[in-house]
Amino acid sequence: MAGHKEIDEATGVETTGHVWDGDLRELNKPLPKWWLYTFYVCIVWAIGYWVLYPTWPTANGYTKGMLGYSQRATVTEEVKAGKAAQSGLRDRLQKTALADVRKNPELLQFAVAGGKAAFADNCAPCHGRGAQGGNGYPNLNDDDWIWGGQVDAIQQTIQHGIRWQGAADTRESAMPRFGLDEILEPAQIGDVADYVLSLSGGKADAAAVERGKATYAEQCSACHGEDGKGNAELGAPNLTDAIWLYGSDRATVMESIRTGRGGAMPAWAGRLDPVTIKSLAVYVHSLGGGK
């Protein structure tokens, strides 16, 4: 170290002897030796780390380390432990009759929480994250149920689906395609639509309603009922309430009559385990509209 003993005038402290730009000098503020040794210890520690843990990339992967540690394995174990921790409640949920789940606050909470997660994974793409539904996909928060809003009816729907090909016990019903199959004339369809809208207090032409009423009694009342209140056994929607799956304007109602609609929902039995389906039923029922 050349000029090591040089003394800074202002402070009277020695400089390191380094000079920048002709006159900038650095005061010698010595690092304690134990600190230096701590760095050496850290280096040794790092070598130990390389040996024990996954560290260096290689051409085909990476060095695995002697401890065999992997984050993936850790997560797998944690998931397994989490499942094991749930198993008590899952067993109880499995053994408890569906209708009794609500009576046990602990089971209810467990089922709702599990159902909510399963709903987000499996049901939300069609029914929406908040089960609010959409055009053609029922809102599950309301109190209007096409196939029944009792918790066991909901479970039945989830298990076997609606008009799901290949599912033996699927909910099956088909509204005739009144327009496409030329069962009714377009004018008749318009009249029936007017009549149907009048059932829920909508504005419609009185003469058309009168004409449509006759056609309705002939063609529709078998399933939707003489009063238009529908029939959950047949999956026939209530036409007198404020809730419309496809929309409540005249053109949409006409389109429904013309095509018969007939949306489908997958059968989930076999894809989801029975406890999950049970949780889903409880969750959907808990959204507020359950009967």
Partner: protein, 506 residues
Amino acid sequence: MSTLEAENPFLSDAKPDRQAAHGIDKIDVEAVNRKDGRELYAGRKKIYAKRARGVFRNIKWLVMVATTAVYYLLPWLRWDRGPGLPDQAVLMDIGQGRILFFNLAIWPQELYLVTGFLVLSALALFLFTAIAGRVWCGYLCWQTVWTDLMIAVERFWQGDRNARILLDKQPWTASKIWKKSMTHASWLVIAAATGGAFILYFRDAPTLAQEFVTGQAPLPSYLFFALLTGFTYLLGGIAREQVCIYMCPWPRIQGAMFDADSLLVTYRDFRGEPRGPHRKSQGWEGRGDCIDCNACVAVCPMGIDIRDGAQLECIQCALCIDACNEIMTKINRPQNLIAYDTFRSLESEKKGGGLKMRILRPRTLLYSGLILFVGAIVGYALLSKTVLELNVIAERNPLYVQLSDGSIRNAYSVKILNKQYQEHTFALSIEGIEGARLTILGDETSERPLVKVVPDDLREIKAYVTVPKDALAKIPGDKAHLDFIATDVADGNRTTRASNFRKPAQ
């Protein structure tokens, strides 16, 4: 030996040619941070701090006794909170997620109270630093207190400065081995007591103490015990001043908190210089009062020379004031050649003026104002701390649900937090919208559904508010104000939380 020599604590350093004044010898000691002869990597120079006697030493003894007593004994203080509840006055209940401090129970979501206390502590620290320099470092910091304690123990086994220097130079005799090993053993006992006391703050002290000795305590207890024990021994016994000089950021920060009016431990160079040995025959005219006896350097636990002026290493423990005053008494010169003084005062004294110190100045007023301000906020938060919290979160997906009869329903998550030690039952109700009906999941029939919340717990309830079609017509726009009310069935206390009811715009 004269009586003066017998009383003189510095005499044992005596060398014939190094007399500072009659009867007072110059001590052979060098400041560890002297400005010349520096290596690039500094090997540690061992500091043999000499025992000081005087006012500030006594204050430090008192502070040491008080702080260590509080630290070691506080976990054992009992405080009755009722049957089945922890009866430890100060407890950080990790399992339950509570900080218990006498009558106060702090929940995780009330941790801002702790933040408030910490902010207040920091501001108080700033204020004290602005007024009297590093009082924290000099008297109160655990590093200072524990180092002081470790040095006292060292002195007990090995004697004062000179005896320790001699002992270190000696070959390893049985006596040296005994003295050294007893010193380290005592340090370890103190360290273990420190680590042991620490873990008691986190679990019921008598239970944990019993579990600990029988090997039943949770693993973290042993880990933290080992950690605290190891570091108390290492930092208090071995590293000492190295912690303050190299590890602690606070000395650097404090440098920005002094100003010309802060009381700092100061060598009054105008009075002391020119320094030099004083012969008995000599007068005091034309020379300074400093006889260069190095007594101030010898007592310094940081190993510095205060006569070099303000230094980063100085923790301002004022032991050099005690040492110098003792010497000044002996040579019949005025006290306080080294004293608490301000830069402004020093300038004035140099010119023959008096002591000058302004306590009220923008800096201290600002800190005091901030302390009052934050104190008021924390005080308000403490006074308005409730034993019940009601939170209502409106479901936003979907915002509202159209029901078949034309009515509109909103869903809410209602959270009731019962911070009391008894189970409470609350009747839930709503106000603000005519005709609105409240139901909760699991009870769709009651007019005012009852919710039971166990002690010290949170219960979340799914609630639905339905407004019938005719009532909806009376609500303008797309939302209406709504109050949720939880009424304690036992005493009728009402807690209200505002929320909104949303509907399609008219």
